[in-house]
């Protein structure tokens, strides 16, 4: 497991995982970002916009790791959108840390590690890629969607939420993917131009797509794994120590060896995945 090498390819720098070639860059950066906006989008769900040096953020699906006053570990949060000097994140309040984050005022500086994780491989998308997001797994798909559209693909998007009160970012996705955006709620409480879609995201997948990208809670990922017919990429969540590959806190087993969700992931290709029981 430890001596598979692909000559000529960039080698995964993970301490001991796979030694396989990898997409994306690992040029992590530490820097201070100024909050320019921090507002509620949906039930317990907030959008934060930050200004600072975003150079290290090179691929959708990457995340940043945020230091908060009074908390020891940083909070890893995926990138919702990013340009030359602005970074947006969407996060859900799930504990004391994210609660404190939601109460942080614009103007305040935050210490961020940026450019963390491999991110999605947009080169594999094809013409009609499918993006499947669920709940707090929706945000990383937005920048991905923009990047795919920018390279000429026509992404199809299926986003699932528990209920209408949890829905966010629909307008943003529609602005990029128009009618190809479908919103699904478990309780059927949401409806819009795309109809009232009650159930799970896997109930509303399009018949045809060239590749898929997904992010969401693990039960959804497992359902997507079964329901999809093409190759694709999954973004995983795990409790992290450092977020940059040092502590082995977030390891998982894959077909190609042990991987660190934070550094060799969070995105894994479908064929790599070994589900835990």
């Amino acid at each position: 497991m430890y001596n598979i090498r692909v000559p000529g390819a960039r080698r995964c720098p993970a301490a001991f995982c796979c030694n396989l070639p990898f997409p994306g860059s690992f040029a992590m950066k530490q820097g201070f970002f100024t909050i320019t906006e921090n507002r509620k989008l949906a039930d317990a769900t907030f959008l934060m916009r930050l200004e600072g040096d975003t150079e290290a953020i090179t691929a959708p699906g990457q995340f940043v790791n945020i230091k908060l006053d009074g908390f020891y570990l940083r909070r890893p949060i995926s990138v919702f959108d990013c340009d030359g000097k602005t970074l947006s994140i969407i996060y859900k309040v799930v504990g004391r840390g994210t609660d404190a984050l939601s109460k942080t005022e614009p103007g305040k500086e935050l210490d961020l590690l940026t450019g963390l994780g491999n991110g999605y491989d947009i080169g594999a998308a094809g013409k009609r890629p499918l993006l499947i997001g669920g709940g707090v797994g929706v945000p990383p798909l937005y920048w991905l969607c923009k990047k795919l559209a920018a390279q000429g693909a026509m992404p199809q998007v299926v986003l699932g939420f528990n209920s209408a009160k949890d829905v966010f970012a629909v307008a943003e996705f529609r602005a990029v993917a128009g009618p190809d955006v479908k919103i699904v709620t478990v309780d059927g409480s949401y409806s819009d131009i795309g109809g009232c879609n009650k159930g799970f995201v896997t109930d509303f997948l399009p018949a045809s797509y060239t590749y898929f990208y997904t992010c969401g809670p693990e039960p959804m990922l497992r359902a997507v794994y079964k329901a999809t017919s093409t190759e694709g990429e999954f973004s995983f969540e795990e409790r992290m120590g450092c977020g940059f590959g040092a502590c082995m806190g977030c390891s998982c087993k894959t077909v190609t060896g042990y991987k660190r969700i934070c550094k060799d992931g969070p995105v894994l290709k479908k064929e790599e995945i070994l589900w835990k029981n």
Binding site: M1, P13, F16, L73, A246, C247
Partner: protein, 311 residues
């Protein structure tokens, strides 16, 4: 207070016969095999570092989640994930050699006395290894690790076995989860340990009141971070009073002032742990802050403060 210029400040110490430029050593499990951090800065600025705890066979470690946050600290239950000693020799150390030109500390662990000895024997031929740090204190594995570190006889048997197969200085890394750490330290010294390093993590736990289950899959894990510094300092002090070999102190060290405080309590060098996970530049910053802090405190040679609390 005496004013000191930069050139008058000496940060080097002698650790079991090997001179290191400064006493700052990233601890095992927080610095991988080093070369990944070399992408961030020149790791040769460090005194040395202790590499990821290595066992004879590859190990995945414990199930996830393995991490829990605490006030001023964290719990991990990684459980000695490592690629095994052969991969370390064939893959990790050659990578390290390209970027690190100093002796490295080899942290080893095992599930039997024989495994410790075999792992040490295999690594003993590696030129870059300066010291062995024998982890008899991992709280995250059953039937190994900490069970050796809570009994003086078992601790001594591991150290004795490792000493028989190695030609390099051997440090025993001790657990704080004991009634009297000096008993274990003395037993290790008597078995031939060239130094003592401590403390490994405190056994801790968090419970998720929303999900109603333990935060980490393994229920309990190793608690580290600034929260444990006062316990670490106390045990360093007690151990330095109890043994004649050098003591390497660790446990919550997060600043140059912490390094100085721990050296004053008897540490010849100091390892940095959890702080490396929160700030990847932490150890470098401590190395650079150390001479500044020494000048502020009128310390011209860091060797002179080792154990002043113990006199």
């Amino acid at each position: 207070m005496e004013k000191l210029t930069e050139t008058q400040v000496n940060t080097s110490v002698n650790l079991c016969g090997i001179r290191i430029d400064n006493p700052v050593i990233p601890a095992s499990g927080t610095f991988g095999y080093g070369y990944e951090f070399a992408k961030l800065y020149d790791i040769n600025e460090l005194g040395t570092f202790s590499f990821k705890g290595t066992t004879l066979e590859p190990r995945f470690g414990n199930p996830t989640p393995r991490i829990a946050e605490c006030t001023a600290g964290m719990i991990n239950s990684v459980g000695l994930q490592n690629p095994g000693v052969h991969a370390v020799i064939n893959t990790e150390l050659p990578e390290l050699r390209k970027v690190f030109h100093k002796p490295v500390m080899a942290n080893i662990s095992g599930f039997s006395v024989e495994e410790y000895a075999k792992t040490a024997e295999l690594l003993n031929g590696e030129e870059q290894i300066g010291w062995f740090e024998v982890n008899i204190s991992c709280p995250n594995v059953h039937g190994g690790g900490m069970s050796f570190g809570t009994d003086p006889k078992a601790a001594a048997s591991v150290i004795d076995a490792v000493k028989r197969v190695t030609t390099k200085p051997v440090l025993a890394k001790l657990s704080p989860n004991v009634t009297d750490v000096t008993l274990i330290a003395r037993a290790c010294e008597a078995a031939g340990a060239d130094g003592i390093s401590l403390i490994n993590t405190l056994l801790g736990m968090r419970f998720d009141v929303r999900r109603r289950k333990p935060v980490i899959a393994n229920t309990m894990g190793g608690f580290s971070g600034p929260a444990i510094f006062p316990v670490a300092l106390r045990m360093v002090y007690q151990t330095a009073n109890a043994v004649n070999v050098p003591v390497v102190g660790m446990g919550g060290v997060s600043s140059a002032e912490d390094v100085i405080e721990m050296m004053m309590c008897g540490a010849t060098a100091v390892e940095t742990g959890a702080v490396n996970l929160v700030d990847p530049y932490a150890s470098l910053n401590i190395v650079r802050e150390l001479p500044v802090k020494m000048r502020e405190l009128g310390i011209s040679d860091i060797k002179n403060i080792i154990g002043i609390a113990n006199k």
